[in-house]
């Protein structure tokens, strides 16, 4: 028994990422639920339809989550199956890889989300479709940000190899408290508000709540979200190309998956 304990103890002790990983998840969960609790304790009468707003926001957040994870999974599956090198010696341009991943991620996202969207109506009487046409804009904006995050993480995987895998899973949860999915930005401390305003999520979810509560749409929020999305997408694509170049210099592509 002690031998088995030692085996895991040595593994954890020798790996800072593993220790950080152990600390990371509870910290993020506590921060997220702390802000949610704070919001509802101050504004208990804020929503007349709390369930509808929370569930709609949860589903929208899942669009971001699924699209990003789908993008990353496509990359990780090639690493896990040790097929990575085969792909990079095929006559494929980087832009072709990016475009094919974007479309495949869309299909994976829809396969995961459509059943969840259908289920919420009979189970909870909530339909995301009540958002109407703006849902399309919100969906596209979240999808764009999701694949942008996927590009960031995939760039890390190309550059640093499979050891970057944990970041793929944890990056999205870091954004949950800052993205103001379930509460307005005012709930965050001042410093966090400054960071949060740099994320398109704040504008997307603020607008979602606005549509659900007031039945009107504020295009300024959407424009702001799309502008930020565009900036991050350009940075993501640049980073992807840069990582590939660095990986060719450092030799990461050769040993990937071994």
């Amino acid at each position: 028994m002690y031998g088995l304990f030692l085996r895991h103890y040595y593994l954890i002790k020798s790996s800072l990422p593993r220790i950080l990983d152990l600390i990371y998840w509870p910290t993020i969960q506590i921060i997220l639920w702390g802000f949610i609790s704070k919001f509802f304790s101050i504004h208990s009468d804020y929503y007349s339809n709390t369930l509808g707003v929370i569930l709609t926001c949860a589903i929208l957040y899942d669009i971001l989550f699924r699209s990003s994870i789908s993008f990353n999974m496509l990359f990780l599956e090639e690493i896990w199956s040790r097929n990575f090198t085969n792909l990079f010696i095929a006559p494929l341009k980087l832009k072709e890889i990016i475009v094919s991943l974007i479309f495949t991620a869309l299909i994976r996202t829809l396969i995961g989300l459509v059943p969840a969207i259908i289920l919420t109506s009979p189970l909870f009487g909530v339909s995301i479709l009540k958002l109407g046409l703006p849902l399309l804009f919100l969906f596209l904006s979240l999808y764009l940000f999701g694949i942008t995050l996927g590009l960031f993480v995939s760039s890390g995987l190309i550059r640093f190899g499979p050891s970057f895998e944990n970041i793929a899973w944890s990056s999205l949860f870091l954004l949950a408290p800052l993205g103001c999915i379930y509460y307005p930005i005012e709930i965050l401390p001042d410093l966090f508000q400054v960071i949060a305003k740099c994320l398109p999520l704040v504008y997307i979810f603020d607008e979602t709540r606005n549509i659900l509560l007031n039945g009107s749409i504020d295009y300024i929020n959407l424009k702001q979200a799309y502008l930020l999305n565009l900036i991050y997408l350009i940075i993501g694509i640049f980073l992807f190309y840069l990582s590939f170049l660095r990986a060719r210099i450092k030799g990461t592509l050769i040993n990937m998956g071994e």
């Binding site: 599956e77 090639e78 199956s81 040790r82 097929n83 090198t85 085969n86 792909l87 990079f88 010696i89 095929a90 006559p91 494929l92 341009k93 170049l245 060719r248 210099i249 450092k250 030799g251 592509l253 050769i254 071994e258």
Partner: protein
């Protein structure tokens, strides 16, 4: 006609450590050159630079007279590669894998090509099985099929018969001989199997500690070093100080 592959003064350094030093050679059409050397001597690094997976610190790789650094993706169409350290997706059937790579290499008449490979490499028994369920010998034949799906001008083989039983190993070597004659393919073969190198290669590059320490026809090298076979030549050269 442009030479399929030419490597000129190729070097690779990680920080200050030079792992490949000034490697040069020419691979003509219809020729098989072997690269021999102990583990870590720079064989795989050299192949990775030829494939454009690794950026050389110095020197250049010319594929059909064009430097790979300038037109990597266009030239990859003329190359292909097999290594025991690289696998095909396990959850796809053999046929699905060949379809995927046929598309990636933009192969014309793909179905006919897959039928041809199935026949030649005896894949028919497991063509619709999951690749992950195959034995290592069967996987090796599938990887070989993938590596020639685009009829590459230059085929790079990194230990193509490693961990295979003698019968499968012999089948692979016989197939390569036949395929090379039929298609006039140029092959660069990195191997630890000296008998394989003697049988297949018209010329051999001996590498140690990142450099080519000797080269020539196998029979010439055996004679030059006064040994009985390539294995003895290999041991003599790799035990000498560079």
């Amino acid at each position: 006609m442009k030479r399929p592959l030419e490597v000129i003064g190729l070097s690779k350094a990680y920080n200050i450590k030079e792992v490949v030093k000034d490697v040069s050679f020419k691979l003509n059409q219809n020729e098989i050159i072997g690269i021999l050397g102990p583990n870590g001597c720079g064989k795989t690094t050299t192949i990775a630079m030829i494939l454009g997976l690794l950026k050389p610190s110095k020197g250049k790789v010319l594929v059909s007279g064009v430097e790979i650094e300038n037109q990597r993706v266009d030239l990859l169409d003329q190359l292909n590669f097999i290594s025991p350290y690289i696998e095909l997706p396990k959850k796809l059937t053999v046929r699905q894998n060949l379809e995927v790579y046929g598309r990636l290499y933009d192969v014309n008449k793909l179905k006919t090509k897959i039928d041809y490979l199935t026949e030649k490499l005896r894949l028919y028994e497991f063509i619709d099985k999951l690749t992950g369920d195959l034995s290592s010998g069967q996987k090796n034949r599938v990887s070989l099929a993938k590596s020639i799906i685009n009829d590459p001008k230059v085929l790079l083989l990194d230990e193509p018969t490693a961990s295979l039983d003698p019968e499968t190993g012999d089948f692979v070597r016989s197939f390569l001989e036949e395929y090379q004659k039929e298609n006039k393919t140029s092959i660069l073969l990195a191997s630890h199997n000296m008998a394989e190198v003697e049988r297949l290669c018209s010329s051999v590059l001996m590498m140690n500690k990142g450099s080519i320490i000797d080269e020539g026809k196998p029979e010439e090298l055996i004679k030059k070093h006064g040994r009985k076979n390539m294995e003895e030549v290999f041991l003599k050269l790799t035990r000498e100080k560079v």
